[in-house]
């Protein structure tokens, strides 16, 4: 088939509207999807993927050692040798930002994975475990959600001792209640559905029902939420580092880098600007990617037609 037809199929499924393109190819237009359009979203998905790749290879492609102190090179403005300039200790900011991709994103991913596992386990248990279990688990969630997570994580991270590990552990412990609620809601919506009844009636055991029939309904919803939460978790983690209870100063973590650059803010803006930009760009990319995923996978969108 010719290219325009293929494109039409893609565009049709992208917004879930079949037959979005009509007429001869030269008169065809993509259906309007708002001024930001899908191009931006595709770029964002690519940027998000690039960030993930950077998190893996960042430390190896960094042009200079991100931890090498050279006081003779202190606070140099951006130049060809130092794309993002140097910080107060003469370390190359560009190399540190690249290395920081791993520190910050890895921490974020660990938090999200652990919180997802906890949330799925606890949410499923609450949805299927009967009234008492449900009540107890949901009240625990209420308590967890009764504080802004930054405050809870701040207290927990402090009690574990200031380090990136504590910040990650603290965030794992604070982030799951939201997921538990989400999973509970979705599983409850489906637990009495006819297809689940049918599975039970032909002899599927409880484990099989949960794994094969209920958890798959959770996946698209959680996938979208987790993608959207990359930015949120990253902001809290770097915030904890900025405040001083997360990654500690020599670490090439974006939040800690900003904290370390505060003192020289009026003479060396670059040491402050670039780590923050790195956070912002990554966060925008993941939020857009999440939006994009939501449109593609959200069952409420898909089922409604």
């Amino acid at each position: 088939m010719t290219a325009p037809t293929r494109r039409s199929a893609v565009a049709g499924s992208a917004d879930g509207r079949p037959g979005g393109l009509r007429g001869p190819w030269f008169a065809r237009r993509r259906p309007r999807r708002g001024p930001a359009g899908s191009v931006l979203e595709r770029v964002a998905v690519v940027v998000a993927l690039v960030m993930v790749v950077l998190a893996v290879v960042g430390p190896w492609i960094a042009p200079q050692n991100p931890y090498r102190v050279d006081l003779g090179q202190s606070l140099l403005p951006p130049s060809a040798a130092h794309l993002f300039g140097t910080d107060v200790n003469g370390r190359d900011v560009f190399s540190r930002v690249l290395t920081g991709a791993r520190e910050t994103l890895l921490a974020t991913v660990i938090v999200l994975v652990v919180a997802t596992v906890l949330g799925v386990l606890i949410g499923t248990a609450a949805a299927l475990g009967g009234r008492v279990v449900d009540e107890v688990l949901m009240r625990i969630c209420d308590i967890g959600l009764s504080l802004p997570s930054i405050v809870l994580a701040l207290g927990l991270a402090a009690s574990l001792g200031p380090s990136l590990t504590s910040a990650v552990v603290a965030m794992c412990l604070t982030w799951w209640p939201g997921y538990a609620r989400l999973v509970r809601t979705v599983v409850r919506q489906h637990r009495d559905a006819e297809y689940v009844e049918a599975a039970r009636s032909i002899g599927a055991g409880p484990v099989r029902v949960v794994v094969r029939h209920l958890l798959p309904t959770v996946v698209p919803v959680m996938l979208v939420q987790v993608t959207l939460d990359v930015a949120a978790v990253m902001l809290v983690i770097s915030g904890l580092s900025f405040v001083g209870v997360g990654a500690q100063v020599p670490a090439a973590e974006w939040g800690a880098m900003i904290a370390a650059a505060v003192d020289d803010i009026s003479t060396a803006w670059w040491a402050l600007l670039f780590p923050g930009l790195a956070i912002a760009v990554t966060a925008v990319a993941f939020n857009l990617a999440g939006d994009w995923l939501r449109v593609r996978t959200d069952p409420t969108v898909r089922w409604s037609r």
């Binding site: 992208a14 917004d15 879930g16 509207r17 309007r32 999807r33 708002g34 001024p35 009240r139 209420d142 308590i143 959600l145 009764s146 504080l147 802004p148 997570s149 930054i150 405050v151 809870l152 207290g155 927990l156 402090a158 009690s159 574990l160 001792g161 939201g178 997921y179 989400l182 809601t185 919803v221 939420q225 939460d229 930015a231 949120a232 902001l235 915030g239 900025f242 405040v243 001083g244 939040g255 900003i258 505060v262 803010i265 402050l272 600007l273 780590p275 923050g276 956070i279 912002a280 966060a283 925008v284 939020n287 994009w292 939501r294 959200d298 069952p299 409420t300 969108v301 409604s304 037609r305």
Partner: protein, 383 residues
């Protein structure tokens, strides 16, 4: 209705009790030795032991907790080992400072966020919608602490438009009534002081509000979209009501439910977010107080400030929950099961005609109010 209120209040107490336990346990694993911190740098081991037994730190954890809880019931939050003052007194001093900031940020939040959301929904797909989307994207992505620093750098350090930090330039006088400088100056008619305090308030308020504006604009937009397509709005138009009236009186009023829920939660979140903003602007306040307490192992101050923020958060949520039926007749009658505290959004209270969300538009935000997505705290903000 009364039963609903009582149950909600009961749950509130329960959640608060749980919070006390968690806040207390959290500080039990503190790596530093609070007794050492209290006794001072040069204390001998005997002195430290004496201080420890004086503070009750040599007792088992459950006993310490009972002791703490017993005192808490009498309004005693313990003594800060850093300021050597009762934590309650410290909190009484720092809370108004933060409240002033939070209220200013909330005002900005509503004044900017709501119109942006309404405009974006009304002119969906046009430039206003695009602008809103940019604001939403940036607000949810730019770290507040970094934004604050950048604003300081550009607007204070380089352009000298606004003061760098603090709450008042030295030399301005204010009569201390509430601890909120702008309010006190306004009430007592000290206009110069008021202007100065307001100038100090702008940058931190903008910084604090930025991520929240994004959430409000997004919520208002999706809520308005679901309502603007509803039949009753068409009907209102058909009766010849002006567009302004249709949008504000008919649509916005019916879209208020999710908006109020979000704004109520934001009050608590904002108070929490001061942790990231206040130190930068050297304003004092509960955020800076909490951070200091945490960094200095100030046990009771940590518990106290966590509890204080928690209380504001919980109360704001309960107030919003109880306010909803008053503002929306559809929720009256107590027919809806109340299964939990509305902390984090309630699917069964999510207002707005269910299923009106325009399915033809690939509206990414619209899902936020659907039952499936509702229980998750809104993405993109330090929740």
């Amino acid at each position: 209705m009364l039963a609903v209120v009582l149950r909600r209040l009961g749950l509130m107490v329960l959640v608060f009790a749980g919070l006390v336990v968690i806040a207390f346990l959290m500080t039990q694993v503190l790596p530093g030795d609070p007794a050492r911190a209290a006794a001072g740098r040069n204390a001998s081991p005997e002195q430290i032991a004496a201080v420890a037994s004086q503070l009750g730190l040599d007792q088992p954890v459950w006993r310490q907790f009972l002791r703490y809880a017993g005192r808490l019931l009498h309004g005693d939050l313990g003594t800060s080992v850093v300021t050597h003052r009762p934590v309650l007194a410290d909190l009484g001093e720092v809370l108004p400072v933060s409240l002033e900031l939070v209220l200013a940020a909330m005002l900005l939040n509503l004044v900017i966020g709501v119109p942006l959301g309404v405009l974006a929904a009304y002119r969906r797909g046009r430039w206003a919608d695009g602008l809103t989307r940019v604001v939403v994207l940036l607000g949810a992505a730019v770290p507040a602490f970094w934004l604050g620093l950048i604003l300081q750098l550009v607007l204070s350090d380089r352009l000298h438009w606004l003061p760098l930090s603090g709450r008042l330039t030295y030399g301005y006088r204010v009569d201390d009534l509430t601890g909120m400088v702008t309010f006190d100056a306004l009430v007592t008619g000290r206009w110069a002081t008021f202007g100065n305090a307001l100038a100090h308030l702008v940058l931190p308020a903008v910084t604090l509000a930025a991520p929240f504006i994004a959430v409000v604009a997004r919520t208002v937009r999706s809520s308005m979209i679901s309502v603007l397509d509803a039949d009753f709005v068409q009907l209102a138009r058909a009766t010849g009501a002006g567009e302004w009236r249709v949008v504000v009186r008919h649509a916005l009023r019916n879209a208020l439910g999710p908006i109020i829920t979000i704004v109520g939660m934001q009050l608590g979140w904002m108070l929490g977010a001061t942790v990231l903003v206040e130190s930068t602007f050297n304003r004092g306040g509960i955020g800076a107080y909490t951070v200091n307490a945490v960094l200095q192992n100030d046990l009771y101050a940590v518990i106290g400030s966590v509890l204080a923020i928690g209380v504001v958060f919980i109360v704001a949520n309960v107030v919003v929950d109880l306010l909803q039926p008053a503002l929306d007749p559809r929720l009256r009658g107590g027919g809806r099961a109340v299964s939990g505290l509305s902390v984090g959004g309630r699917p069964d209270l999510a207002v707005g005609p269910a299923g009106v969300t325009d399915p033809s538009a690939p509206d990414v935000e619209a899902g936020a109010d659907n039952a499936a997505a509702a229980p998750v705290p809104v993405a993109g903000v330090q929740r």
